[in-house]
């Protein structure tokens, strides 16, 4: 993210309504285009109003950025808008949340809502009622506008307003293309915008996808975009699951995401960490009303890994339940039917089998007798190239490894461990304070035990 920039997000609905006098394709396309054109004019009209969320400020972008609140004049820098936003939690007692903001580049985003002024000054015109008697198809929907712009914080409000209106117009253009491309007869798929944070120098982009068409059928579109943005062609960046998660939108499923980012780095001299890439959810004992205390640790580690593949866009299926995991193992012949509904443990071999069966993901199995430099090098390379969470099973326990760190000067090694044996609630403070997610030293390894590691590999796909 560019330092000194502010992100503004404008959302709202525009009503899309058109009359189709006939259903032959050229006519339909002409009418749809004309309707989008009209919406473009609507967006450039003086009646467009932007409401600054959580504040009493309203802006008229097509009237030079005129605003309601007296202290905001169009020449003021747009960063002044932030001061007018009333936040709910002024006192942030958790010191951890400050760290969270540092890591998340979209913290401090300005949200705006799209609105229309219906008051019309000027000449009075008595209402008239027009009755049309032509047969037609009426197409109606609301377009979910969602624009994000990144501007210099010193940029004036009037210029920023112009940028936002421009973003709306170009999004309408994108929506028109998507609508026409995927239209069948009179069925118009609703175009939906998604935001992606692509690696530098590209940054924030918005892509419009048609609703209801699964990612698997949009590969051509993604290929075009990958080459346009010069993205590598072997890993997903633009699947819907890759969409940027904004800090002010809580995850609805209740699982914690990436608890490890809230930890301090391991206390190592010249320690360089090699960490998991992307986003995973923390799965552990007792979640989803399943009492797997004492036997489900490998299942939970497997769920964490599945959540990673889902959130990086490799799969669309939801994280499997214990039942589904057991079912998969019976299907591949690894287990007998009596396995279903049991509390039998599984190991890294079974984890790899399920990843293959349910997600189409292959894994490398590594055999380790205890943590040492050899093992460390393999793990570090894994996090560099694949970046997936690792399931480790051995002795009587299973865990997830999220990273390793090594000190050049002392030769000490540390392991970032996510422990599935936690039985409490999704309390980030407890989980990080008590080390359920934390850096461990060599004491983590049992000298007398043998360990099998499952290292999931990224499929080569976009």
């Amino acid at each position: 993210m560019v330092v000194g920039n502010i992100i503004l997000r404008l959302r709202g609905s525009l009503e899309f309504k058109c009359q189709l006098d006939s259903t032959d394709v050229p006519h339909v396309q002409k009418v749809i285009s004309r309707t989008f054109e009209a919406l473009g004019s609507q967006v450039k009209a003086e009646s467009l109003v932007l409401s600054l969320s959580s504040s009493p400020v309203f802006l008229w972008p097509n009237k030079g950025g005129h605003a309601t609140a007296g202290e905001i004049s169009p020449n003021r820098p747009c960063k002044d808008l932030q001061q007018l936003i009333q936040t709910d939690d002024q006192e942030s007692s958790r010191k951890k949340s400050a760290k969270k903001d540092k890591n998340n580049p979209t913290a401090g985003i300005i949200n705006l809502t799209l609105m229309t002024e219906v008051t019309e000054p000027g000449v009075l015109s008595a209402p008239t009622l027009l009755r049309g008697s032509k047969k037609h198809h009426l197409l109606q929907t609301t377009l979910p506008m969602d624009c994000v712009v990144s501007v210099l914080s010193s940029e004036s409000i009037s210029v920023v307003c112009g940028t936002l209106v421009g973003a709306l117009c170009s999004q309408l253009g994108d929506m028109e293309k998507v609508a026409l491309r995927h239209m069948k007869g009179t069925a118009l798929l609703i175009p939906q915008p998604f935001h992606f944070l692509l690696p530098a120098p590209v940054g924030l982009v918005t892509v419009v996808y048609p609703a209801g068409v699964p990612d698997s059928q949009l590969e051509t579109q993604r290929k075009e975009l990958h080459s346009l943005f010069e993205l590598p062609d072997d890993r997903p960046y633009l699947r819907r699951a890759n969409a940027l998660h904004f800090p002010d939108e809580p995850y609805k499923d209740g699982y914690l995401r990436n608890p490890h980012v809230h930890l301090n780095h391991p206390a190592l001299e010249n320690g360089k960490p090699y960490l998991v890439q992307g986003v995973y959810s923390y799965h552990h004992y007792m979640q989803d009303r399943v009492d797997d205390n004492g036997w489900g640790c490998a299942y939970r580690s497997l769920q964490t890994i599945c959540s990673w593949f889902q959130q990086q866009g490799y799969v669309e299926r939801a994280v499997p339940s214990h039942k589904e995991i057991q079912q998969a193992l019976v299907e591949v012949g690894d287990k007998q039917g009596s396995f279903l509904g049991s509390r039998q443990w599984i190991g890294s071999i079974e984890v790899a089998a399920v990843l293959d069966q349910l997600l189409g993901v292959t894994s490398k199995i590594m055999f380790v007798s205890q943590g040492n430099a050899e093992c460390f090098r393999e793990l570090a390379n894994h996090f560099l190239s694949e970046g997936t969470p690792i399931m480790i099973g051995g002795g009587v326990l299973a865990h997830t490894i999220l990273g390793v760190a090594w000190s050049e000067t002392t030769g000490q090694i540390r392991y970032l461990i996510l422990d599935p044996h936690y039985t409490g609630a999704e309390d980030l403070q407890v989980i990080t304070d008590k080390g359920w997610c934390g850096w461990k030293g060599p004491e983590f390894w049992d000298q007398n035990a043998y360990y099998n590691l499952c290292l999931p590999q990224r499929p080569k796909t976009i």
């Binding site: 009359q19 109003v49 309601t68 002024e117 209402p127 008239t128 198809h137 609703i190």
Partner: protein, 353 residues
């Protein structure tokens, strides 16, 4: 503790000047504004007489006998509805009055009760906005004895069909509404109502329009009013900071209202399960387009009104104005009859309130 009605002097004059020959009864409407603290009556108007073309005179009884029983309640309520349509925002029919000779004074209360419930029911029909918890549902009934000019004032809660009469104060004052703030705004309309294929009869068209208007009314209700260009929080006093004006000053304070809507129903109104993937398609045999602009006015009492009252009163006037225009159009449409194949028909509204 009963309600207190502050009544304009002119109302007293009007009521005392009413000509009530002999043993006849006169009904009429009381117009004003109710607030949680106080109620104001600014106008009284008697029910006009029906044409005496063999239909009899419902409000003026010629002979002896109980004219109260022959009272044409429907006529009174229809008059109330028409008057209601013509009132600016903030003003409504908040009660009825009845003048009777002394011998009918006893039954007068029953009649008044019947009248007020019927009037309220008829006026509320087809209303596109909903009452809130803060709305006052007590309406006033006034009985005047034609001989002694004695006045009996009672209120009924029209929300409760079993409610009993409660005593209320009736006080005359001059210049009650001279300094009432006025809110104005002009709202643009561009609404298209589809007429579905199977709906060709004028009655069906009425249904289509009413449904479409309901959606539009919800948008207006959810919309935001900027008073003099300012988004005032609801609890702020509208007249706060203004120099206290004497009641005898003739100029009232004028607020211009800017109306902003989000152009769609609030997200909470759309249940998740109904999120569509495609645009909805309706096969239509025609359409009705409502275009133009309506001027809306609303008055607010001057007894410490808050911004939220102002917003409410102008919103309701916007909805009522458009709603009654459309009603008038539909009445024309019904008279016109079934569509005889004309492609476009234009209806003009000549009345400007």
């Amino acid at each position: 503790m009963g309600r207190g009605y502050i009544v304009e002097d002119v109302v007293e004059k009007y009521l005392s000047n009413l000509s009530v020959p002999g043993a006849s009864c006169v009904t009429g409407l009381l117009i004003g504004q109710s607030s949680s603290q106080r109620d104001f009556v600014v106008l009284a108007v008697r029910t006009p007489q029906k044409d005496t073309e063999g239909q009899g005179s419902p409000s003026v009884s010629r002979g002896a006998g109980n004219s109260l029983e022959r009272l044409d309640v429907e006529w009174v309520t229809e008059h109330a509805r028409q008057v209601s349509r013509m009132l600016p925002g903030g003003m409504s029919v908040i009660g009825v009055f009845l003048v009777t000779p002394p011998e009918l004074s006893k039954e007068a209360q029953n009649t008044l009760r019947r009248l007020i419930f019927a009037v309220d029911k008829h006026i509320s029909k087809g209303r596109l906005w909903s009452l809130t918890e803060e709305d006052v549902t007590e309406k006033v009934t006034l009985h005047i004895c034609s001989k002694t000019r004695k006045v009996v004032c009672r209120t009924y809660d029209v929300r409760d069909p079993k409610s009993s009469a409660k005593p209320a104060d009736w006080k005359y004052q001059s210049g009650v509404c001279t300094s009432w703030p006025l809110l104005t705004c002009s709202v643009g309309l561009n609404l298209v109502f589809p007429v579905l294929e199977m709906h060709v009869l004028p009655q069906d068209m009425e249904k289509c329009m009413k449904e479409g208007l309901q959606t539009w009314a919800k948008q207006i209700e959810d919309g935001l009013c900027l008073i003099n260009g300012d988004a005032m929080p609801g609890e702020v006093e509208l007249l706060g900071g203004q120099v206290k004006r004497s009641k005898f000053q003739s100029r009232s304070i004028h607020f211009y209202v800017v109306y902003i809507t989000s152009g769609h129903l609030s997200p909470q109104a759309e249940p998740q399960s109904e999120r569509r993937l495609t645009a909805s398609v309706k096969v239509c045999s025609g359409s009705l387009t409502l275009k133009g602009m309506v001027q809306c006015r609303a008055y607010l009492h001057s007894n410490k009104p808050r911004a939220k009252h102002a917003t409410e009163v102008i919103k309701r006037d916007v909805i009522n104005t458009v709603s009654s225009r459309v009603e008038m159009f539909l009445e024309d449409l019904l008279m016109e009859g079934e569509d005889k194949g004309t492609v476009f028909v234009l209806y003009f509204s000549l009345g400007v309130r």
